[in-house]
């Protein structure tokens, strides 16, 4: 323990390292500052964005919980949850087929699966808008169109995490199960599924977050009364500053943060952010 600590001290006090540390602190200020300022401003007593805040009040927070803001928030939560469930449900068989089988057209399927990650989301949004209009599905704009679009753009995340967990399955466990008398279904249920559960959960979480924070697709597919929170905030910004927005922003920022913190505590997500190399 002591040699490690002394090395640490040496690094921290040596010139270049101290300089780097200073630079890094500034980068963190740049990275987190705007978010912290938003949070601080939401407690302002006045309707100006004074920073540091003058006075302290919850009046903007009270307004943030009015139906005007809570409804789109709940809409986004519903949309994100359903996207996560459907996206993961579709991703599971797809990832499994890509992992397990080598067949003609597999490469094309891989490209198709990753497509929504490659093309700008905005463009997919325009295309879906056009498709729905072309098919005369105007009454399906809003929730249905958003759900379809979000499932499409979020599915690749779930395919990715499920693929990672499939690739890190210990070799031969499926054969071992079969040799012990487990049918294919029993092998999936008792061996494969429990071992890739973390990947499924991670995929669902990432899909939810991607859906909850999306703007590029949603601006084209929302309609009045069926609007995700991000589109609602963006629409309001055109009218200039309103401290309520600061409070609403903080709320929408906390939702994914809390979700990730909870899931990370329960089953661990880090593996899927840093990739397989860190798994070892």
């Amino acid at each position: 323990m002591s040699p490690r600590r002394s090395f640490f001290r040496w690094r921290m006090t040596s010139g270049p390292w101290a300089l780097l540390r200073g630079v890094v602190i500034l980068i963190y200020v740049f990275s987190l500052g705007p978010i912290l300022i938003t949070a601080a401003v939401s407690f302002n007593a006045t309707n100006r964005s004074f920073f540091p805040p003058r006075g302290f009040s919850f009046r903007w927070w009270e307004k943030a919980f009015a139906p005007e803001w809570i409804d789109p928030l709940i809409f986004s939560l519903k949309l994100g949850s359903l996207t996560a469930v459907l996206g993961t449900a579709l991703a599971l068989p797809l990832a499994f087929a890509l992992y397990r089988y080598r067949f003609r057209g597999r490469e094309a399927l891989v490209a198709l699966t990753l497509g929504p990650l490659m093309l700008p989301t905005l463009v997919t949004g325009v295309g879906l808008l056009q498709l729905f209009q072309y098919l005369g599905w105007r009454e399906h704009m809003g929730f249905t169109a958003l759900l379809v679009g979000h499932v499409v753009i979020c599915m690749p995340f779930a395919v990715r995490t499920v693929s990672i967990s499939l690739r890190t399955l210990p070799p031969n466990v499926e054969l071992a199960a079969a040799s012990l008398g487990a049918t294919r279904w029993a092998t999936l249920r008792h061996v494969v599924f429990p071992l890739i559960k973390t990947g499924l959960v991670a995929g669902a979480v990432f899909a939810f977050i991607h859906s909850f924070t999306d703007i590029n697709l949603s601006i084209f597919l929302a309609r009045p009364g069926e609007t995700p929170i991000t589109v609602k905030i963006l629409g309001f910004l055109e009218f200039g500053f309103a401290p309520t927005l600061a409070a609403v922003s903080v709320i929408t920022l906390l939702v994914p943060l809390v979700l990730v913190a909870v899931v990370e505590r329960v089953s661990g997500l880090g593996d899927f952010i840093y990739g397989e190399r860190e798994r070892a």
Binding site: F7, F8, P16, L20, V23, V24, I27, Y28, L32, P34, I35, I37, T38, V41, S49, F51, L90, A91, P93, L94, A97, Y101, F103, L109, L112, T113, G115, M118, L119, P120, T121, L122, V123, V126, G127, Q130, L131, V151, V152, M155, I209, F212, T213, D214, N216, I219, T230, I233, L234, L237, G240, F241, S249, T252, L253, L257, V260, I273, G275, R277
Partner: protein, 286 residues
């Protein structure tokens, strides 16, 4: 030998992929194909006709207004990429090499912004940069300026906002590269007589180049198709590709021009991502 029974059924992989592949074909490939075809159709009285034409592209590439949009989009993409590499490299290097017991927390903090919507994060910059915002208050307060400055709407504000929003991507990409570098290489270089600076330029930087280039291209491709940040921090006079597509389609109802612009955006993104993948492939081969 009767092993045929196992072969004659419908292959399991087609059963597995049937539904997800159909969803992707109908709701991803088809819309993009429609968009592509719309870009070659003539638009009249806010309706698409069946007449094919290249006029949409000709229009976009000849009007100074849209050339300016292309140029601004490109400048934003390059600038955001450069800023994020300059900020992302020291941060990534620090996070990979630090022995602090807070390492995990520091990494989480540097990536946490990805969990917030770009709208929310850009809103912070709106609070700071608007005419009655924090920056003006502070500068007035310490007496550097006498009158309020309009930091936004401006291309600069868009660059700052996007650089802030996309920084985690370069950090992740560069960390990936740096993690793959054996720390003993640094010691080895120093044992061979290279000082810290030479070690950095001759060993660390070349080896992390794929991560730097990959991060740059990734950020570039996201930045040129970003909508929210330019919409908030820019204005009608500072349009970029994404905001122009939005106004074509939602405000002007001109599908063919919107589609043509979208196709230009797709092609540029794909080229950038292809380049990034090539770099990735080279990294994998090393």
């Amino acid at each position: 030998m009767t092993h045929a029974s196992a072969r004659s059924r419908v292959p399991a992989h087609w059963l597995l992929v049937a539904l997800p592949a159909t969803v992707l074909l109908v709701f991803f490939v088809l819309p993009n194909a429609l968009l592509l075809s719309a870009s070659f159709l003539k638009s009249e009285a806010q309706q698409l006709t069946t007449q094919t034409t290249l006029d949409n592209y000709r229009f976009l590439f000849t009007r100074p207004l849209y050339l300016e949009v292309f140029l601004r989009t490109f400048v934003v993409g390059i600038s955001v990429g450069v800023v994020d590499i300059v900020l992302g490299f020291p941060l990534a290097y620090f996070l990979v090499r630090t022995r602090s017991r807070w390492k995990g927390l520091l990494i989480a903090l540097s990536l946490a912004p990805l969990l917030a919507s770009v709208v929310v994060r850009t809103y912070g910059w709106y609070i700071i940069l608007n005419r009655f915002g924090v920056a003006n208050d502070v500068l007035l307060g310490i007496g550097i300026i006498e009158n309020r400055i309009a930091f936004m709407p401006s291309t600069g504000a868009i660059i700052v906002g996007l650089a802030h929003a996309l920084l985690p991507y370069t950090v992740l990409s560069i960390m990936g590269s740096l993690n793959g570098i054996n720390p003993n290489l640094e010691s080895a270089a120093m044992s061979l007589g290279a000082n810290r600076i030479r070690t950095f330029f001759h060993v660390i930087l070349p080896l992390s180049l794929p991560g730097i280039a990959g991060g740059f291209l990734l950020v570039f491709s996201i930045a040129i198709s970003a909508y929210a940040t330019p919409a908030i921090l820019g204005g009608p006079a500072t349009q970029v590709a994404a905001t122009a597509i939005y106004s074509f389609i939602i405000q002007l109802l001109d599908w063919s021009l919107g589609a043509a612009l979208a196709v230009v955006l797709i092609v540029s993104s794909l080229l950038l991502l292809y380049a990034a993948a090539r770099l990735g492939a080279r990294r994998a081969a090393l």
